[in-house]
């Protein structure tokens, strides 16, 4: 992402998805795990913290494959995405039509203090990467009004879906959230899934 990239504020961009969401499984990690709970407290929210950085989409793919009866929405950062670009191919090849991956692209490693990613200053096009990986339903937004208008349509496209949202860093939020203890979270989450 280049420095002159137009960007949305993060929370309103997430609010669009919170308004759209009904009973989907939602996997958050890093910055999204800090911000999403401000908008949602749902038993099918899985706050993937502590995580293996870069692997939230893979964990979400596993959920999508295990539960084809449910739609799965996964958030990932751009730094996380860069750590496992191959996951885009794995997702494309998986046939998981119930999976949507939303990349929140702010151009930095936010939770470690705002350092630049390897893509800083480079016009890395995450939507193009997803498309080239074989994901057919791909969209990118940098304008909140356009994202609000198009979100429902984009999320109804054949899955798996990939959405890149250019968002502003949350400078005051340079830290990870304090998560619900993982064991407790897993018990509650699996209970909500009926597992």
């Amino acid at each position: 992402m280049t420095t002159d990239q137009k960007r949305m504020s993060l929370l309103p961009a997430l609010q669009v998805l919170a308004d759209w969401r009904t009973d989907e499984i939602v996997v958050t990690t890093m910055g999204s795990a800090r911000e999403w709970p401000k908008l949602s407290r749902h038993p099918l929210d899985f706050q993937y913290i502590p995580s293996a950085m870069g692997h939230a989409p893979a964990l979400a793919l596993g959920l999508a494959l295990a539960r084809p009866d449910r739609r799965v929405l996964a958030f990932n950062g751009d730094g996380c995405t860069l750590m496992s670009l191959g996951s885009l191919v794995t997702i494309a090849a998986s046939g998981a039509t119930n999976l949507s991956l939303v990349v929140l692209n702010n151009g930095i490693y936010e939770v470690t203090g705002g350092q630049a990613t390897a893509a800083a200053g480079v016009p890395t096009d995450f939507a193009a990467l997803a498309r080239a990986a074989g994901i057919r339903s791909v969209a990118a937004f940098d304008d909140l009004n356009e994202w609000q208008r198009q979100a429902a349509t984009v999320l109804a496209m054949p899955g798996p879906r990939f959405v890149s949202l250019a968002v502003e860093p949350v400078v005051t939020g340079y830290q990870l959230p304090v998560p619900t203890p993982m064991i407790e979270q897993i018990v509650n989450f699996r209970c909500a899934l009926g597992v």
């Binding site: 899985f46 293996a52 999508a64 295990a66 597992v195």
Partner: protein
């Protein structure tokens, strides 16, 4: 050590639902049988770290996955393994190709570090190094780990992978 049909039928009998894998030249011989099994779904990944995270998601969703990778991939995927098995505390199981184990004079560092790394992580593992009873030993170890709700590894002895 184990043929494709043997491993496919063994995993199916154990109730495994998904095989998440990257093959090596030994494990790769299982591909046709795994792909054709009506009881198993083969999930191909690009890098081994993905395998642990996908298996974690499958487990959380109620499926019974198994990870199948080479020991080199085990090393590569250390952080994902650490997260899935210890942060999330999931009793995932893996079959790991033990490259060069059958070559006693091998200087392959993948051979040298495999068991020390597993011991450092405190992982329960079984070594399948004989042609006879490998399927039965794998099944026995898998069942024991599942009953104890702990992760486990089956090391499959290989020549050069």
């Amino acid at each position: 050590m184990l043929t494709g049909p043997e491993i496919a039928s063994t995993l199916a009998e154990l109730g495994v639902t998904h095989v998440v894998w990257i093959p090596d030249s030994t494990l790769g011989g299982w591909e046709a049988a795994l792909a054709q099994s009506a009881a198993l779904r083969l999930v191909r990944v690009c890098r081994e770290g993905e395998a642990w995270a996908i298996a974690a998601g499958l487990h959380l969703g109620g499926s019974r996955p198994i990870v199948v990778i080479q020991n080199t991939g085990l090393f590569e995927s250390g952080d994902a393994l650490r997260n899935a098995l210890f942060d999330l505390g999931l009793p995932l199981y893996a079959i790991v190709g033990y490259r060069s184990y059958l070559l006693p004079d091998s200087t392959d560092t993948a051979r040298r570090f495999t068991e020390p790394v597993l011991r450092a992580w405190g992982l329960d593992y079984v070594l399948l190094d004989k042609p006879v009873n490998s399927a039965a030993r794998l099944a026995e170890h898998y069942r024991a780990c599942q009953a104890a709700v702990r992760p486990g590894i089956a090391l499959l002895a290989e020549g050069k992978g």
